[in-house]
């Protein structure tokens, strides 16, 4: 998320559609995005159907959508992401949510993690938080809010016979970075490590956890998220 290398990135403009039904939050998002020169907000919507129509109209690079909107006020944002996966696969989707529950993040990524981000709403005022995610999904990556990953890592560490018990504290930090969707370079930067050290840590983690390493960052996110979210026996079918 703190992948801020504007010098390297050629200046481009992201065309964005925002969907948020709460007026005050929508105004907040407007102000956050107005600060950014690279962003052009094509339309503000306030429910699922107007969002999908706006996407059709504007073909945006990225959609920033509330998770819970009319008509049902449940998980419209995630359903929008699933629909857009089919209808507009090149559009990135940043779901902004008030739920820390990893359930929603996992649900979002189950359909495929490329060009998807899950952020907590209260963090979008933070510098580069929203913008970083927009850039990431636009370029095919994935982002998960660190607060969500934290819940997963904590609960997974607590579990009996947890495989995370075998990881060093440093390795756990690196794993959290992986789950947040960071590139090796980004992890190295946040943890003040060399890129090489990060790679070594990742190899060790994936070996200890018996996960297949993947150089594709977004697939790596899903693997680590699902691993972290695993709790006990998987659901059985109805008896």
């Amino acid at each position: 998320m703190s992948k801020t290398e504007p010098v390297e990135t050629p200046a481009r403009t992201y065309r964005i559609v925002v969907a948020e039904d709460a007026y005050l939050v929508r105004e907040g998002i407007r102000q956050v995005l107005e600060q950014e020169d690279e962003v052009e907000v094509a339309e503000f919507c306030s429910d699922l159907s107007s969002l999908l129509q706006a996407v059709e109209r504007h073909a945006p690079d990225v959609v920033v959508t509330d998770i819970r909107m009319p008509p049902t006020n449940t998980d419209e944002g995630i359903r929008a992401a699933a629909t857009l996966r089919e209808e507009s696969p090149q559009t990135g989707v940043v779901v902004i949510s008030q739920y820390v529950s990893p359930h929603y993040a996992i649900k979002l990524f189950e359909e495929g993690s490329a060009r998807r981000a899950y952020l907590l709403k209260e963090h979008i005022g933070h510098r580069n938080h929203l913008m970083g995610a927009i850039r990431e999904v636009a370029s095919g990556g994935s982002v998960v809010d660190p607060a969500v990953v934290e819940v997963l890592v904590e609960s997974r560490t607590r579990a009996k016979n947890s495989p995370l018990a075998h990881l060093t504290p440093r390795e756990r930090e690196v794993l959290a970075g992986v789950a947040e969707g960071k590139s090796n370079a980004a992890i190295a930067k946040t943890l003040f490590l060399t890129k090489r050290a990060v790679e070594k840590n990742i190899n060790s983690i994936f070996a200890k956890l018996d996960l297949a390493d993947d150089t594709d960052v977004s697939r790596r996110v899903v693997a680590s998220l699902l691993f972290l979210a695993e709790t006990g026996t998987p659901f059985q079918g109805p008896a």
Partner: protein, 641 residues
Amino acid sequence: MTSRTPVPEDTTVAFEQLDVADEAPPQTARELEADRDVGEPSLRPVRPGIRRPTGTEIAVVAAAAAVAAAAAVVVVNGGVTSNASGYALLLVLNVFVFVLAGLAWRRARPWSPYGLALIGYGLASSLYCLASVSQPLVFSIGVLLWVPGTFFVWWLILAFPSGRLDNAGRVVLALSGAVLLLGCFPKTFLATSMAPAVPLARCAGACPANPMQIDADSSLATVFRHIDIAGTSTVSLLILVLLAVRFSRASRPRRRLLGPVYLFSAILLVAGGAYAVGVSWLGAPPTANDTFGFAVTAASILFPFGFIAAIALAYAYVGAALGSMVRELGVNPSVTGVERVVRQALDDPRAQLAFWLPRARRYVDRHGRQVVVDEDHTSTWRSRERTDGEATLAIVHDAALDEDPELIEAVGAETVLALENRRLQQDLLDSIAALRASRKRLAAVAAAERRKIERDLHDSAQQMLIAVRIQLELTRGQADPESKLEHQLARLGDDLDRALDELRSVAHGIYPPLLAEEGLPEALTEAARRAPVPVQLELEDVGRLPEEIETAVYFSCLEALQNAAKHGGPDVAVTIRLWWEPHLLRFSVSDDGVGFVPDQRREATGLTNMLDRLGAVGGRISIRSAPGRGTDVDGAVTVST
């Protein structure tokens, strides 16, 4: 009705109180006070014996004693009878047996003419003593008293139990009257002296001469003699046949009444017939004459015992019938069941329960059909009237049971009790069902209300705080980095984050959005993630269930999970299971913690909470625990599909 009746009286009071409670619940304190005075009579023991004799009864017994004594004096001082003391004793016995039987009958059946008839006959039988008087005319009249005496006994037999004769009875009695008159004719007008038929009354020497003799034609005497013998035996036989026919045609309750009286009557008739045939006609030797004579004497002394036996049998039958009724009615019987038991108790297979319909103003049977009373063969017992003046229940029964009042009263009272009991039980069940339904509705309303509050929190308060949080961060971005303002804004941001966390957990505690959106397994998975202790999950995909059931199960599991975390000790691990059994959603929360003695921590375990939650949706829960053995919380909810 003095000391024998406390039981029925109390029963009545109980009913009246029930009725009052039904019709007019509000009572003033004074009324209640008065009620208590009525409702708590000083406790008197139920005496199983017979009630004390009334003044009339004592007078009757005294009269019987007086006439019996007088008769005995007459017999002993008459100087005619050979075995004077024996005959005197026989007369005394006869008087008392009939008088006592009559008193007993009158007590049990005050409306029946038989009480008075038996008493009257007993008192009058003392006149047989005249056959011991030496004055010839008095002696002869004394001997002839046998004729009206016998006639009266036959009437007693034929008119039983109503005191009225049917056509056949009238014919037979008329015939027997004629026979008696003809039979006594030769004795009265042709015999030089009359010999008493009773062996004990035999004259010491020659009997006093017959002053009424008009001729001594022995051949004429023989003709009448044969008429007497043939007539008496024929009439005896006729009466026997009539009794047999009546008995065989009688309903079972009627047979119970007729049986003992008919039995002793038959003994008397057989003995009399045999005497007539054996002694007089076949010319049996004098010793046999005595034997037959004594048999008749014994049979006539025994005869009143038929009435006593009938009453005793009726009482014994009431006891047995009530006993079996109480047993049979033990387990909340249906109305059909009650009717069956009533039929059994009355021994009347056609007895019928009839229920009063106040608005239609008629009695109906258990199928709701109007009850038609056949006045000739049935009679109707009605329960005591309620305050509105109508008997609620009637029993249509065999008319013969009118002669069995203790039985019908006792069975009636027991039936009213059983039906009242049944109604109360039904009312109770109804109100339990209503309570259960209302509890379930409340639970549903509560669940919906919780969900609404959660929505409001998420959609308004939380959104506003989030908007403020975003604005705060934007403002901080404009402040000079590392300035005092920037630090203050950062601290404010942290505080706001904590407020948001707090709000989130409050909203979650009220109604987890995941539970509303995804159902139990997802919500429990999330709860396990947030739990401060390791949780193993074995959750079947139970699908979606009514909101109130999901809420009850979810919060019960959460409560158990929190208990395990709080009290289970440092190394506790929890397993939550959720699965289906047919029509039953089951769940369990087990831990391997330190455990406890269940009784001591009932409150702390939140068992009451869980019981309330699950009870409201018709579920149940149990907790098993012991020190060092962990804790198992087991729950089940019936889910109608």
